[in-house]
């Protein structure tokens, strides 16, 4: 079944002019991607890559120089208010909440700001407070809550609006491991039960790997990858093994390994080898068997999303260097 496209970003470009030098700086150029219903998309990139510019354009906070953003077929530039009715955002930091109000007062206030009657949202507020385990804190001032609780409340505020799209900027930044895990599980539950679409901008790669179905990676203002997380991991997956040996390898063995395995590392009786073919493992065993080298442990080295991200970024950087030198 084909999934409904909820957000369409088409050829988005934004340029800034430096105040002093009047030099034109490219923030993003030709950024295009789509987000589908019930999907968690990770918007990634190093600092200054153009993520925030893209996010701001999606929220209508910035007017792009070229291209457009459509949220449920509504053009953000042409019908800003109508488009923004479909999207709510939790931006990084704790400026999303009023610290002088209690948890419940904040929720009632933000519901009112969206034009909803206070009485009409009471049941939803109760439901969300219970879901996010904030019921006990409902009458406490936001200023007295922990960073994790404030972040959870900010997400509840975004969910209260009941919009189809939720934009989260660094949802787990500065939060302890336990609360981070809790937030991740809650977000997964929301997507599963309420079929919401979530766009996450984060530098926390384990979070992205755990939460996101697909990622869009931006670098130097351009989309360098728009692919499913699993596909990216498969793409960079190497058949690498780490062997802990009971004794040192002899010179003959090292020479044999060197000639057959271009990528290898050996130190302190630890051998790390990257195999190119499935049959190479038998050849490696033969080399070790030839001197009856004792093997204490064999581990398969797996690649995580952080390494995938680093590989993609460095590959793009290298391509840029090559194209500029040509």
């Amino acid at each position: 079944m084909e999934r409904k496209c909820v957000v369409q970003v088409e050829d988005l470009s934004k340029f800034y002019q430096k105040r002093k030098t009047k030099e034109i700086v490219k923030a993003i150029e030709g950024v295009s991607f789509e987000v589908y219903e019930g999907e968690i998309l990770g918007l990634l990139g190093p600092n200054g890559a153009g993520k925030t510019t893209t996010i701001k354009s999606m929220c209508g906070l910035l007017k792009p120089d070229e291209g457009k953003v459509k949220i449920l077929e509504t053009d953000v530039e042409k019908s800003r208010l109508r488009a923004l009715n479909h999207i709510s955002a939790v931006l990084e930091g704790n400026r999303n909440l009023y610290w002088r109000l209690t948890v419940k007062e904040n929720l009632e206030y933000f519901a009112g700001n969206r034009g909803t009657r206070r009485k009409n949202v009471q049941s939803r507020i109760e439901h969300l407070l219970n879901q996010f385990d904030l019921k006990k804190k409902e009458n406490e001032l936001v200023s007295s809550l922990s960073r994790g609780m404030q972040q959870k409340l900010a997400i509840v505020v975004a969910l209260l609006a009941d919009t189809e799209v939720i934009l989260l900027d660094e949802p787990t930044l500065g939060i302890d491991v336990e609360t981070g895990y809790e937030i991740r599980e809650l977000l997964k539950e929301i997507v599963k039960k309420e079929n919401k679409t979530i766009i996450i901008s984060s530098h926390d790669m384990p979070v992205v790997q755990d939460l996101c179905e697909r990622t869009v990676i931006i670098n130097h203002g351009k989309v360098i990858t728009n692919e499913k997380v699993d596909n990216l991991i498969d793409l960079f997956e190497t058949k690498a093994y780490c062997l802990s040996l009971g004794e040192e390898l002899n010179k003959q063995q090292i020479l044999q390994i060197e000639s057959h395995f271009p990528i290898y590392e050996y130190s302190d009786q630890k051998l790390e080898v990257t195999l190119e073919n499935d049959g190479d493992i038998y050849f490696l065993m033969d080399i070790l068997k030839s001197a009856s080298t004792k093997i204490e442990k064999i581990d398969r080295t797996t690649i995580d999303f952080e390494q995938v991200f680093m590989n993609l970024i460095s590959r793009e950087e290298n391509e840029n260097v090559v194209s500029s030198s040509n």
Partner: protein, 93 residues
């Protein structure tokens, strides 16, 4: 109708803050009262005794508008300064 709920939510928030930070609220009204008294007695002492009644009426109206204007301006100024210090303005440019 949504505009009514928007105004109601913001009025409620202001009311909650006025109630929650009572010393601040009392100090604000006290300042207003002291300035009013100063103006009232000032008109009586300096102003023309023949037009004292009219002057006081004008004075009250002027005082209310002046106070509202001052409050609005200082609030806007304070918010802009605060947000500029926090870096919010840079975030939305």
């Amino acid at each position: 109708m949504s505009l009514v709920h928007l105004i109601s939510a913001n009025t409620r928030m202001e009311f909650i803050e006025l109630k929650r930070y009572l010393p601040n609220t009392i100090a604000m009204f006290l300042t207003f009262y002291i300035i009013f008294l100063a103006m009232f007695f000032g008109i009586n002492v300096i102003g023309d005794p023949q037009h004292a009644e009219t002057n006081i009426q004008y004075g009250i109206v002027n005082m209310v508008f002046w106070f509202l204007t001052m409050m609005t301006l200082s609030n806007i100024g304070f918010t802009i300064t605060l947000e500029a210090t926090r870096g919010t303005l840079e975030c939305v440019k």
